[in-house]
Amino acid sequence: MSFHPNEVARRARVALGLIGLAFGVLLAAFFRTQVIRNQQWSLRSEENRLREVPLPAPRGNIFDRTGKIIAENVVGYTVSILPQSLDSLKGTLRRVATLVPLSKGEMDAALRRYNRSPVRPTVILPDASFDEISVLEEHRIDLPNLIIQSSPKRFYPEGGDVAAFVGTIGEVSDSELTLPAYAGYKPGQLVGKQGLEREYETQLRGREGSRFVEVDARGRVVRDVGARADLQPQQGKPLYTNIDLDLQEYIAHVFGDSLTGGAVAIEPRTGAVLALYSAPSWDPNQFVGGVSVAYYDSLLNDTRAPLYNKATQGTYPPGSTWKLATSVIGLEDSLVSMDAHMPQPCTGRYLYGNRYWRCHDLNGHGNLNLAEAIEKSCDIYFYQLGLKIGLSRLIAGGLKLGFFDPSGIDLPEDNAPRFPNRLQYFDQKYGPRGWTQGATVMNMSIGQGENAQTVINMAKFYTALAENGVEATPQIAARPPELHRIFTLSDDQLASLRAALVGVVQAGGTAASAQIQGVVLAGKTGTAQTGIRRNGVELNHAWFAGFAPADDPKIVVVVMIQFGGEGPRAARVASSIIGHYLKSSVTSLVETGG
C-alpha cells in the first residue's frame, strides 16, 4: 500500500529532511560567501566599480638666486579615455577626431599608451586647449568614458633663454621605463628629459595623487567619487639655483640670433653657476605636452644644432685660452718663471723638425718673457715652453688640472672633454710611428691638437686661476661649494700671472678692446683652429676666458663663439657680460644696503 498513512508520513519526513538538507547547504554556502569571504568579494566589487584616475603632481618650481621663477606650473587640461578594450578606444578616438583635430601621430600615441598600461586612463590630449575642452564638454553625452581634468602644466617664463640649463620635460619613454632609476614610474607620466629637470627629477617630481570615478559595466563614467585626502597630489620640492636670471637673459640678448656658441658665468669662490647659455637656443615650452613634429623638425634641420648644448656638450679646441694651463704646468714644475725667456725670440716663425711653425703674429713678438707671452699670446714662446715641459709632463699636468674629466656640473649633459690620458693614446690613434712627441707637445701647448674642451670645463679651470689654484666645481643648484686645490704656486707667481692676464685686456694686449670702465678684467683670448674652411678662409672658434675684478674675482666668464673668428670678438662679448654683472650686482648691493 503505497499510500498507507504510515508510509506517507515516513516519506513526508524524508521529503522534509531532503528540503532541510538542500536549504542547509544553500545557507551554508551563502554564509561562507557573504560573511566569511565578505572582505574579498567587497574588494572585488570596489575594483569593479571604481577606476583610479591619476592626478599628476605639480613639479617643484625652479628659482634663480634672487627668487625669480625659472620654471613653474600653470593650469593645463588633459583629456583621457577610460577604455574597456582596444576597440572601444579606437571607436572613441574616431568620435573625438570628428570634434577636435587629432593627428594620426596623436592617435598612435594614445594606442601605444593604452597598450603599455590598459588600467590607467589613456591620455589622448596631454595639453588640450580651452577651445578643445569646450567642444568636448559639449558632446559629453556621446563620449561617456571621457575624462577631462585640469592638470598642472610646466611653464618656463623665460623660454629659450633658460633652455640650456633648465632642460625640459616629456612623457617617460619605453626605454626609460626599463631602467632601474625609473622603477616607480608608470607609463604616461612626465619626467625631466634634459637639464635641471632631469638632474633633479626625484626632487622636482612630487607625488602623483589619485581620484576615483565610478564606472558602470560598460566603462561609462557614472560619477566622480573624488580624491581621498591621503591621495592628493603633492607638489615636488622647489629647486633654488645659483642662476642670475638677469645675467642669463642679458647673455641671451648679447648672443641674439646671429651668434652661435656657448657662454658660462661662474662665481669663482663657490662654483655657483650664474649663467649658462647655448646659442641658438630652443623653446622648452614647446616640448611640454608633446613637441609638434614641425617644431622638432625645424630644430633638427637647423645646421647650428640648437639642441646640442654648446656650453656643456660641445667640445672645442680651447686654443690660446689653454696657454694658461701650459704656463701653470711649467711654473708648478719650476721649468719656467714669469720673467723667463725662451731660447729663441719670436720672429713670427719657428723651425722645428723639418718645417716652420707659425706665430699668429707673422711680424713676430720679439724677445718675450712668460708674462709678456701670455699678454701677446705668443705661439713661438709656448712652442718652446711645451718642448721644455715635454709631452709626458704636459699630459700629466693636464690630467691634474682636470682637462680629462667632465666638469662635474649638475647637468646630465656634462660631456667629457677630449684629452689624452697617457702617451699610448697617440700610439693607438696614429700608430707608434705616426706621430712625434715634439710636434704633439707643441700643438698641445697652444691648446690645439688632441685637446677639445667644453666651455664649462674651461670655466672651471679659470675659477682656479681666479682663486689661486683652488678650483670650484660648477654648480647650478644652490649647494655647499665643492672646492679642490689643483695647483700650488707662490704668491709672486700668482700675482704676476694675474698681472699678465690683466695685461691681455690692457692696451697692447690681445683683448684691449674688451676693457671695462672702472673694472680690472683678467682674461685670455683664444682663436681655435678648426681646419674647417669656408670660401678659402679657415673658420676659427673665438674664445675668451677670464675673470673680474682681477684683484677680487667675483665672476669667471668663458665665451666661445663657434666659427666666430678671432678671440677678441669673444672677449668683447665676455666683457659686456662681466660689465653687466658687476654693475648690476653693485646696484643690488646698494639696494640691499640702503
Binding site: 516519506r11 551563502f30 560567501t33 565578505n38 568579494w41 567587497s42 566589487s45
Partner: protein, 418 residues
C-alpha cells in the same frame, strides 16, 4: 468538514506565497533601479499585474474540486503536448533565451511561455498515471508510462531548446516517483545512466561509480534483464558521452565548462557567475541597502531581474535577506508537504507533491547557480524572477494546493503528525 461551496483556506500556505510574491516584486523594483535606466525600471508594474492576475487565477482554480482538476488532466496534458509541438515550428525567442523557441506569440505579440504551464499539466498527468495503480511501480518496465508522460513534453522542451525547464521535468519525475513509493534503489538505477554520462569525462570517477552501481544491482536483485539493461545503459552512456559532447551546441558546452570552472572564461559565460558571486559576497550580513547594490546599479550584474534576481537579494539585503527568503520558501514547502501528506486521495497527494517538486527544483537550481553550486541554466526563481507566465503558473499551483488542502484531512484527524 467544509460545505460543498466553501473552501477552508490554508492561510499559512497562502500567506507564505503572498509574502514571497511581495518580497519578489520589491526586489524586481530594486532590480530596475540602475544608474543608467533601462526598460527593467518598469518591470515591477507588470510583475504586480501578473501577481494580481495570479491571485484571481488561484481563486478560480481553488473553486474547482480535485475531481474536476483530475477530469481536466488528460485534455490539459494533450493540449500541452500539442502546443509545445506547435512551438517547435512557430515559437519565438525572447530575453536571455532569444535563440530558443519557448514563446507563444500571436500576431507578433508574445503571450507567454507555455512550458511554464506545461510543468503543472505534466504534474497532473503524472499524478493521474501513478495514482491509477494501487501499488507503486517496482520494476523498470512498470515505469514506462510515467516515463512516457514526462518524456514527451520533456523532449519537446529540450528541442526548443530549454535545458533549465528540462531539468525541472527531471526533478518532478524523480520526486513524484519517490512520493508514489518507488524504491530508492530503483530510482538510482533509473538515474544511473545520466550519472554515467556526467562522470564519463573522468575515467576513474566513472569506474568507481560503475562498481558502486554493480554492487547496488547485486544487492537490490532486480530482474535479470533489468540488471543487464541498467549496466549496459551505463556502459553506453560512459562511452557515448564524450561523443555526445562534441555534438552539444558550443554555448551549452561553454555553460557546462564554466560550471566546472567559472574563471576559465571570466569575460563571457563565466562573467555572469563571477559577477553574481561578487554581488552576493559584497553584501555581507545586512547588504548594501535596498536598491543600493553597486553591482546591480552599475550593470555588472547580468539578468538582475530574471535569472540572477537572487543575487540582488544577496547584494542589497545581505545574508539576513537571503535567510529570510529561504526561510519563507522553506515554510511554504513545509506547508505543501503537509498538504500532500493530508490529501484525501493519492491523485491529490501526488499533484501537491509534484507542485512542490517543481518549486523545489526551481529554487535549488536558481539559488544554487547564483553561487555557482549548480550550472547556469536560466530558470526563474518562483515568485521572484520577473516573468508573467511563471508568476501566473505558480499562483495557479497555489490555487490547486489550496483546494487540495481544503479537501484533505484536517489537523484534527491526527493521523499524521507533521
Amino acid at each position: 468538514m467544509s460545505g460543498p461551496r466553501r473552501v477552508s483556506l490554508d492561510w499559512p500556505l497562502v500567506a507564505a506565497a503572498i509574502v514571497l510574491s511581495m518580497y519578489g516584486i520589491a526586489v524586481v523594483y530594486s532590480a530596475g533601479q540602475t544608474d543608467v535606466p533601462t526598460a527593467v525600471a518598469h518591470a515591477y508594474r507588470q510583475q504586480t499585474m501578473w501577481f494580481a492576475l495570479g491571485l484571481v487565477g488561484a481563486y478560480a482554480v481553488s473553486r474547482a474540486s480535485a475531481r474536476l482538476i483530475e477530469w481536466a488532466t488528460v485534455p490539459a496534458y494533450v493540449g500541452t503536448v500539442l502546443v509545445l509541438l506547435m512551438l517547435l515550428f512557430f515559437g519565438k525567442g525572447a530575453g536571455t533565451a532569444a535563440d530558443t523557441k519557448s514563446w507563444l506569440a500571436v500576431g507578433g505579440i508574445r503571450l507567454g511561455q507555455p512550458s511554464e504551464l506545461a510543468k503543472i499539466t505534466v504534474v497532473m498527468m503524472l499524478a493521474k498515471v501513478l495514482a491509477a495503480n494501487r501499488e507503486a511501480p517496482s520494476s523498470l518496465l512498470e515505469l514506462w508510462k510515467p516515463a512516457l508522460v514526462v518524456g514527451i513534453p520533456w523532449l519537446e522542451i529540450m528541442l526548443q531548446p530549454d535545458l533549465g525547464t528540462g531539468i525541472v521535468f527531471v526533478g518532478i519525475f524523480f520526486l513524484m516517483l519517490f512520493w508514489a513509493g518507488v524504491a530508492w534503489e530503483l530510482l538510482v538505477l533509473v538515474a544511473s545512466p545520466v550519472v554515467s554520462l556526467v562522470l564519463a569525462f573522468n575515467t576513474s570517477l566513472w569506474g568507481a561509480w560503475f562498481l558502486l552501481l554493480l554492487a547496488l544491482v547485486l544487492w537490490y536483485k532486480p530482474y535479470l534483464w533489468e540488471g543487464v539493461a541498467v549496466v549496459s545503459a551505463n556502459v553506453i552512456a560512459g562511452v557515448v558521452a564524450p561523443l555526445l559532447w562534441d555534438h552539444l551546441q558550443p554555448y551549452r558546452q561553454a555553460r557546462l565548462k564554466v560550471f566546472l570552472d567559472p574563471s576559465s572564461d571570466p569575460l563571457r559565460t563565466g562573467y555572469h557567475v563571477i559577477q553574481s558571486q561578487v554581488a552576493i559576497g559584497s553584501g555581507g550580513w545586512l547588504g548594501k541597502g535596498f536598491t543600493m547594490g553597486t553591482q546591480k546599479r552599475l550593470a555588472f550584474l547580468p539578468e538582475q531581474h530574471t535569472d540572477f534576481i537572487f543575487s540582488v537579494v544577496g547584494e542589497e539585503l545581505g545574508f539576513v535577506g537571503v535567510t529570510v527568503a529561504l526561510a519563507l520558501f522553506g515554510f511554504l514547502f513545509y506547508r505543501v508537504v503537509r498538504v500532500a501528506a493530508r490529501a484525501s486521495d493519492s491523485y491529490s497527494s501526488l499533484v501537491a507533491f509534484g507542485l512542490l517538486a517543481m518549486w523545489f527544483t526551481h529554487v535549488v537550481e536558481n539559488v544554487g547557480m547564483t553561487l555557482n553550486l549548480t550550472p547556469v541554466t536560466g530558470i526563474p526563481l518562483p515568485f521572484f524572477s520577473y516573468g508573467g507566465s511563471f508568476m501566473f503558473a505558480s499562483w495557479l499551483a497555489v490555487g490547486i494546493l489550496v483546494r487540495i488542502s481544503s479537501e484533505g484531512r484536517g489537523a484534527g484527524a491526527g493521523q499524521i503528525a507533521l
